[in-house]
Symmetry: C2
Subunit: 348 residues, 2 copies
């Protein structure tokens, strides 16, 4: 044990949010219903769908899973079935949230659906925060939104950025953030990477964080969230490294921007890792491993991929290692669901 | 305000310890008496002595100040008077603690007294933790001590190191740590530089800290304390830079040593600062300034000197700046006094 970093399971972090979700559920106008659409036979997606069902049943949410895919016992026809199911769930007033499970590497049809579903799914049912307006807010560091602006076209109108308080200003609600990036931020808050003494919206200031993966559902929104919270972020993809920061180094630029900027980095992965207080990896490959010897002594490592992206001896260098965040992700999903139900209730 | 780091006064940190001291004082066997011996006419020492008196009166401690020095209204004769006063206070059973105020740059006589007083003053009255056994413990990362071993000669016998819990194991008490370094550690704990999730004795693991000053009363014990708590420490003096760490980088050494090792560093001050999450400066000179442009963006700066060692724009780079720790130092002194009174009571 001596000299080895801590192995931190996500359970105690999830437990705190489970209590929050229970409390919100107790005052919900009705039992929230989540429709899961499993558009893939990939094992991690199936596992995640099963796990969602388990959590829903345990906590008292309605979960309806609609399945498709080759060789599956799905109840959806191939092809257009998925899109039809999305539209049906969107039109059904008894459905509060829609979650589509895609494989990590989508084929042509998945790609179409991924593009189409945010336009089909009402932002009020978008538990994954994929809708254009939520995405726009995330990348523009707009944290609060007027609920009625979700129904209008164009850019989110009347949304307000605030770095002064965690609570949404009157007349606004919190924007919806994708579940996995949000879960990772919550883990980092819990373990003290975010410093509560610093003002809300800047609590990761002073931290250098490498995010390995730049997908639209995990890596890119995560890098943006962390940079908007003040961190210096290296976003690492298979063919490039970018730096996200809201404190540009040029002497003419203002010292502090409300939102991050992105620019190409000349550092190698090894150089990024040697500077990083936190390393988050979400590479969907069993073969990909972050080299332990490249890590900064005492850094914090978070594995987000279904396969372990860190070597077995990672805790020889890391002060803390979080091997999985899925349990927190599910609770972010249910938290988003409850919020959306609340946001739409005055409009029902 | 936007873009500027926080200015953190030590008051709220001191307030927490003031409550702790009040609670301990309420159950003290008798009103503790501290004798201050002002062996200098230097302004910071006088200021500190006045401040100690004020705190003592406010909280209900007895404080007796004995003064000497040219042009002063001291009640001690020049020369041997100071040594005689130390001996007298040491022999007086009504005195619980002795504090000698030296100028920061001592002349010959001060040097003699600094050497002599720890041998004259009983460890039970050594509120500054200057006694050989306390110093030995500090540099050897021995956190707990058997009270009776303080009265025997030789190395502290039966002292035990523990990294498993913050509480002293049965039959032992906490070793006494010099007030200023201890106050700085407490400030770093308060603002989240120490991570409470990590085990006691390793909570600064992952932090890189530069300490500018290597005096025997502030910089060197501070560097040792921080390194013993897991930090990588650059100890900067006027003519050299050393690295203190308990995690040596050589592949043959164990990954984790119970106490720190010290080796010369080849880094320049600029390089050290560019890597440092925390910069602590205690240079007794109004002219000395840490260059803001050398600091890592988002670092934490702590000024310990009577004069400001940081430039006026330090918060353009620092996420937090603590301009002074004196208010916490006084409370560490009173906390040490109460502990020593408690340690000796079974022997009275």
């Amino acid at each position: 044990m001596a000299g080895k970093g801590l192995l931190l399971k996500a359970d105690p972090i999830a437990a705190a949010f489970r209590e929050e979700v229970k409390t919100s559920l107790a005052v919900a106008p009705r039992k929230p219903r989540l429709v899961g659409i499993l558009a893939t036979s990939s094992a991690p997606s199936k596992f995640y769908a099963d796990f969602t069902r388990k959590q829903c049943e345990e906590l008292g949410f309605d979960f309806v899973l609609k399945k498709t895919g080759a060789g599956d016992t799905g109840d959806l026809p191939e092809g257009d079935g998925v899109e039809a199911a999305i539209i049906e769930a969107n039109d059904d007033p008894d459905v509060d949230g829609i979650m589509v499970y895609y494989p990590i590497f989508g084929h042509q049809q998945d790609h179409y659906l991924q593009q189409a579903s945010p336009s089909v799914v009402s932002p009020y049912k978008d538990v994954e925060g994929l809708h254009f307006k939520f995405h726009y807010n995330l990348y523009h560091n707009i944290r609060f939104i007027e609920p009625q602006s979700l129904l209008t076209s164009g850019l989110p109108s009347g949304s307000s950025a605030s770095v002064n308080g965690e609570d949404a200003p009157a007349g606004t609600v919190k924007s919806i953030i994708p579940c996995t990036p949000l879960a990772i931020v919550k883990c980092l808050e819990h373990i003290g990477v975010y410093n509560k003494i610093l003002p809300y919206g800047d609590r990761a200031y002073g931290r250098t964080i490498t995010v390995i993966n730049r997908s639209e559902v995990v890596g890119r929104p995560l890098a943006a969230l962390l940079a908007n919270d003040g961190a210096r972020v290296f976003s690492v993809d298979i063919d490039s490294i970018q730096e996200y920061t809201k404190r540009p180094k040029t002497s003419t630029a203002p010292r502090y921007n409300p939102r991050h900027v992105v620019h190409p980095s000349n550092f190698t992965l090894q150089e990024c890792l040697s500077m990083s207080d936190v390393v988050i990896s979400a590479v969907p490959s069993a073969d990909y491993k972050v080299k332990t010897e490249w890590l900064k002594d005492g850094c914090i490592c978070v594995n987000v991929a279904a396969d372990k992206n860190f070597e077995g001896d990672v805790r020889e260098k890391a002060s803390m290692y979080i091997p999985a965040v899925g349990k927190v992700t599910i609770l972010m999903l249910l938290r988003n669901l409850l919020r959306l139900q609340q946001y739409q209730s005055p409009h029902l």
